[in-house]
Subunit: 226 residues, 2 copies
Amino acid sequence: VIALKDVHKVYGSGENAVRALAGVTLDLPRGGFTAVMGPSGSGKSTFLQCAAGLDRPTSGSVRLGGQELADLDETRLTELRRDRIGFVFQSFNLLPALTVAQNVELPLELAGRRPGPGAVTALLEHFGLRERAGHLPEQLSGGQQQRVAIARALITRPAVLFADEPTGALDSRTAREVLALLRDTSQQVGQTVVMVTHDPVAAAHAQQVLFLADGRFVGRLPHPTP
Amino acid sequence: VIALKDVHKVYGSGENAVRALAGVTLDLPRGGFTAVMGPSGSGKSTFLQCAAGLDRPTSGSVRLGGQELADLDETRLTELRRDRIGFVFQSFNLLPALTVAQNVELPLELAGRRPGPGAVTALLEHFGLRERAGHLPEQLSGGQQQRVAIARALITRPAVLFADEPTGALDSRTAREVLALLRDTSQQVGQTVVMVTHDPVAAAHAQQVLFLADGRFVGRLPHPTP
Ligand SMILES: Nc1ncnc2c1ncn2[C@@H]1O[C@H](COP(=O)(O)OP(=O)(O)OP(=O)(O)O)[C@@H](O)[C@H]1O
Ligand SMILES: Nc1ncnc2c1ncn2[C@@H]1O[C@H](COP(=O)(O)OP(=O)(O)OP(=O)(O)O)[C@@H](O)[C@H]1O
Ligand SMILES: [Mg+2]
Ligand SMILES: [Mg+2]
């Protein structure tokens, strides 16, 4: 359902050029839970952004559900992202002027869908944040904000969920609860999950681990030991 | 050098009140390297902010180097923070319009000090970021931004360094390099370091680990196993 072919991404130009992705070719089947690991600066966030259509590669092809993203104009790309993709950013990106509940509900609003009764509350309950529904992001701890960002990415039950360091700000117990939820949701609705992580505990929840170094994939570990 | 006495911090009021710190009493000697661990939402960031004079407790006393912080007006508190304290924030807080080098140099500028020749470059070199000195924060990966934030906190050789999750966005190898640097700098100049972390590898670099739960300290582990 995700197919990248010889994807390159270069930032800047001339002697200031940074080669963030240096030839990425990858096929990920529907319903899988894949972890991506690699050193700081190796291209993980860039890979996720290109795969999710949040950024355009410098060269190469990205297909999501068979659709070549380069064939979509900005409007249609925005619709595809809104309707079919969930994204957890490395720095959360919550809207500071919206409450926790409003932040979680926003993707549904943007997609013109009505939330099922109590859907937002149920998800917040799952993350231990129900009594904070009316608070603003700045009133929450780092780990609480991260959980709101994950809830927001899950509310639309997207076909593909991309998560950039979803447990980076969480203690080990909360991290395991969140990972179990990601894996269960994924199995129940056949959602494909691609998760970038530095955390071996997080990677152990995935079906396979791919290793990125200097902008290209250099290794694969099927069935990591839990 | 850091002394907290029955510190309470309550956010909001009435039925919306959140008791972030519920009676913290703590004495930390000069030159020590202390790690603070605890579940998400247990009060770690709040504790750090009160100890570093970035926030005022609701009640209780905070003394830094013998100085009762409640006796200082905002101007003198700002001077004390600027001249004697380094702080690494959980969300980095780099200035988006300044380059990496300008961000690192800023605390010296604000303190009216001249950087030693090549001091900024040497520190960036240490963090593997020398060739990015002229770039803006948004051009860096998450882990690279975190390293810039740590370099910025170290440039003034502060008497006390407070670090909130300094390795959260780093892969294990980069994390270990940064922790070794924190420990070495601390030993060489007798700097006191208080580090909040979820990462057992980070905590293992400290001389003692303190455990926070529900806004109070509940345990202590001297000499964690490396
Ligand atoms: N401005 C605020 N208004 C209301 N509540 C707040 C505010 N800032 C923090 N809190 C709450 O105080 C409690 C402690 O927050 P704190 O940020 O210190 O936790 P933490 O231990 O650093 O958590 P994490 O590991 O998730 O970063 C949390 O319940 C948090 O939601
Ligand atoms: N807008 C940009 N301009 C220039 N270089 C960039 C830009 N964005 C990212 N880079 C560079 O591209 C490389 C890959 O960045 P990326 O954010 O994908 O790394 P990462 O693997 O996610 O790292 P981390 O683990 O630290 O988050 C890095 O060297 C980074 O500095
Ligand atoms: Mg990243
Ligand atoms: Mg925190």
